[in-house]
């Protein structure tokens, strides 16, 4: 029973993480981790600045297909 619960919990957690990553909800967290890994990255952007920067980049090239 506890094994079933553990598998279900892991599946739910994995699904939630996947949803956050795919939707872009976790983009800022990824960015902070990425800047933390780089020694020469300077101060990171705020969440609001990052969001605007992300949108500007995403919609400057083909991002949706037919």
């Amino acid at each position: 029973m506890s094994k079933v619960r553990s598998i279900s919990t892991n599946l739910l957690r994995g699904g939630w993480v996947w949803l956050r990553q795919v939707s872009g909800d976790a983009a800022y967290d990824n960015y902070l981790r990425s800047t933390a890994r780089q020694a020469d990255s300077g101060p990171p952007l705020s969440r609001a600045e990052f969001y605007l920067d992300l949108l500007r980049r995403r919609y400057s090239s083909v991002s949706r297909c037919c």
Binding site: R13, G14, W18, N30, S60, V62, R64, C66
Partner: protein
């Protein structure tokens, strides 16, 4: 023992797939159940993924997971972001899945279920997936460069320019034709128009929330937005029932076209956070959910296909669009089998996010298989309708007449039984005034989806809600493609205009933004207007033009891929890209030739122009109609010129590439690959992004 078991399992999958394909191809005694299509598709996908994509990955590309990808070497947390392969699969699939794999198969169902289904399955496994996988691999090895840049470096400067011009041309035609699909679906439909109109204030609310209240909290904003859209679909029936409100939202085709043109201009010029981005979030959620719901619904309902395997319209006389199975089935079904547009995504954001080279197999090849499955679902939904109903919805009034009686008489004369009462009552049951002359594929797909959904949840009681949910879902993500495409097209136009006058090239220049947006919207808006005015419905001429442009872009991508394989020393294996490329060149050149020069006025642009010109000179057309007819003549000649220019550009590129291939094969030129140098990965084990997130 394990090896033997594996052989038995794969042999069983292959046999099941072959059996189901044989049933689809040869069973004529009784109507087929959709389960045969699902088994045939899934088994073929499994076998092609397990064996063919593994062959491509190991023997051709020699994918090397010890090699650092651009996401690792150039990581900046913005463009270059190492991403878990299942997350990237979701990203990539959401990016490539548009209206094409839904609308194309629905239109091609006029030939019957057989040709379209076979092309969807085989074309994807041997063509579309190979193209997406190859271009993704090439871009990963070149720091995530775009198709145009790769073509310029590996083929020639001219090749790069042709790729860029082809992209701009295809975008103009694509945006026009998908806007026309929305116009045809929402014309005289207050419920649908209200629901779609409501997505604009909902997106604005989401945009303000994401910008000022909770920046970047996409999930919570999207969940709220999806709930509001659900309410809008339900509220639409009250609008439809109210005499005064339904009048407000009842728009003619020209009024809708103008509204969409104004909307496209606004979405391209307004800040991206306000309208475009939140709509995109909203549409991505609904799109993926609706596609999965359709797949689940088909599995639950398992409808029987009423459409025959082959219809009489294989001879080219079809009412939905003119032209024989070859080449027009392969032009009409573009995105579900092979789509050149995918090469832009595969050489866009995806290669910059891939964590390991080995992941390119599931992301590039696997996601195209998923897209093909969406196409098969759309084919099932269209063919599950009674053929008479399918043709009544998808045929223009110019062919079947304007009333239910006239349509029933014409369609029955084709051998498909249709009672006028059937189509009238179906329209009432889905909450529409009429379903006649709703060309473009979206309404018949929505009827098919509504029947499948209502068979799963709600029954007849919810048929109208499901129909309008399906219409909203199709229109919403079509308009999102329209927004995003217009904006990217605006940047391309500004790039070109910047060569003439530098300030126009700056994306921050107001004049540049306005001029670029007006040029792009003006270009696709012209073709949209032309489609709205067309007495044969517009889809008849514009969808093949879009299909030709899209398949020509695929041919460009495969030419580039073949050149790179040769330079990599894989001459023995160039058939993997050469065969689909040759097929696409033959198909598109034949289709282009027929669309320009066919003697049939329904098929050939010039023949139709000449017929109309003859009618004016013989006095058959007089008075005010002459000006309209002259415009139709001009439009037909313009379509012929656009087709000729597209075909000529690709022929130039193919000839140029073949010359380069001969030089390489004869040893006259030393092949130079422009790959980034090998760097060993620092991340030998695990995925840094996924593991850290999951641990929290």
């Amino acid at each position: 023992m394990k090896r033997i078991l594996e052989i038995i399992v794969w042999a069983a999958i292959a046999l099941a797939g072959a059996g189901a394909l044989a049933a689809i191809a040869f069973e004529r005694r009784e109507p087929l159940n959709a389960v045969w299509f699902i088994v045939a598709a899934l088994c073929t996908y499994l076998v092609s993924y397990r064996f063919y994509s593994a062959f491509l990955a190991a023997r051709i590309f020699a994918l090397d997971s010890t090699r650092a990808t651009p996401a690792e070497r150039l990581e900046d947390g913005r463009d270059f972001v190492p991403t878990n392969k299942w997350v990237l699969l979701g990203h990539h699939f959401a990016a490539i899945a548009g209206p094409g794999p839904l609308v194309g198969p629905t239109l091609a169902a006029q030939f019957g279920y057989l040709p379209g289904t076979l092309w969807l399955i085989v074309g994807a496994a041997l063509g579309g997936c190979v193209q997406d996988f190859t271009i993704l691999f090439c871009s990963i090895r070149r720091d995530g460069k775009s198709l145009g840049q790769i073509a310029r470096e590996e083929v020639s400067n001219r090749g790069g320019t042709i790729a860029l011009l082809a992209v701009l041309a295809i975008m103009v035609i694509l945006l026009a034709v998908i806007a026309l699909v929305v116009v045809k679906a929402l014309r005289e439909s207050p419920w649908g128009t209200f629901t779609l109109a409501m997505t604009i204030p909902i997106a604005l609310l989401m945009g303000i929330y994401l910008r000022f209240v909770r920046p970047g909290r996409v999930l919570e904003a999207s969940i709220g937005g999806v709930a509001l859209v659900g309410l809008a679909v339900i509220a639409g029936q009250w609008v439809n029932a109210s005499p005064s409100w339904s009048q407000v939202f009842t728009l003619s085709a020209p009024s809708l076209a103008i509204a969409i043109i104004v909307y496209g201009f606004a979405a391209s010029t307004l800040p991206v956070w306000l309208l475009l981005a939140p709509r995109d979030y909203l549409s991505a959620f609904i799109k993926v959910a609706a596609i999965f719901a359709l797949a689940a619904g088909v599995l639950v309902v398992r409808p029987t296909l009423a459409m025959p395997a082959l219809t009489r319209f294989a001879d080219g006389s079809g009412p939905v669009f003119a032209g024989k199975i070859f080449p027009f089935c392969f032009i009409t079904i573009a995105c579900g089998a092979v789509s050149g547009f995918h090469a832009l995504i595969a050489s866009g954001t995806t290669p910059k996010m891939i964590l390991r080279e080995g992941h390119a197999r599931i992301v590039g090849y696997g996601s195209m298989l998923m897209e093909s499955f969406v196409g098969v679902m759309a084919m099932i939904a269209a063919c599950a309708l009674q053929p008479g109903v399918y043709f009544a919805i998808n045929s223009p009034a110019g062919i079947v007449g304007k009333t239910a009686d006239a349509a029933a008489k014409t369609i029955s004369s084709w051998g498909f039984t249709l009672d006028p009462q059937t189509i009238t009552s179906l329209a009432q049951r889905v909450g529409e005034r009429t379903l006649l002359d709703r060309t473009g594929g979206a309404p018949s797909l929505a009827v098919g989806m509504a029947q499948i959904f209502s068979g799963t949840i709600g029954g007849e009681h919810l048929l109208s809600i499901w129909y309008h949910f399906a219409i909203m879902f199709e229109a919403l993500f079509i308009l999102t493609t329209l927004d995003a495409g217009t904006r990217v097209g605006r940047f391309m136009v500004q790039d070109l205009a910047g060569h003439a006058w530098k300030p126009l090239g700056s994306s921050r220049s107001t004049a540049g933004t306005l001029v670029g947006s007006a040029a792009m919207v003006g270009a696709w808006g012209y073709f949209l207007w032309q489609g709205v005015q067309d007495p044969l419905g517009g889809i008849n001429s514009l969808w093949p033009l879009f299909g030709i442009a899209n398949q020509l872009l695929a041919a460009v991508a495969l030419v580039v891929a073949t050149t790179i394989l040769l330079k990599m020393g894989r001459a023995r294996f160039i058939w993997v890209t050469l065969v689909p490329m040759a097929w696409l060149v033959v198909v598109t050149m034949t289709a282009s030739y027929e669309k320009i020069f066919s003697a049939s006025p329904r098929l050939g642009f010039l023949a139709q122009a000449n017929q109309l010109a003859g009618q004016i000179s013989s006095g058959a057309i007089a008075g005010a109609a002459i000006a309209d007819t002259r415009r139709l003549i001009f439009n037909n000649r313009l379509d012929a010129a656009v087709t000729a220019v597209l075909a000529a550009m690709v022929l130039v590129l193919v000839v140029e590439a073949i010359c380069e291939w001969i030089r390489i094969l004869r040893g006259r030129t030393r092949p130079v690959l422009h790959e980034s140098p090998y760097v060993r990965t620092r991340w030998a084990g695990g995925n840094p992004v996924w593991s850290q997130e999951a641990e929290r």
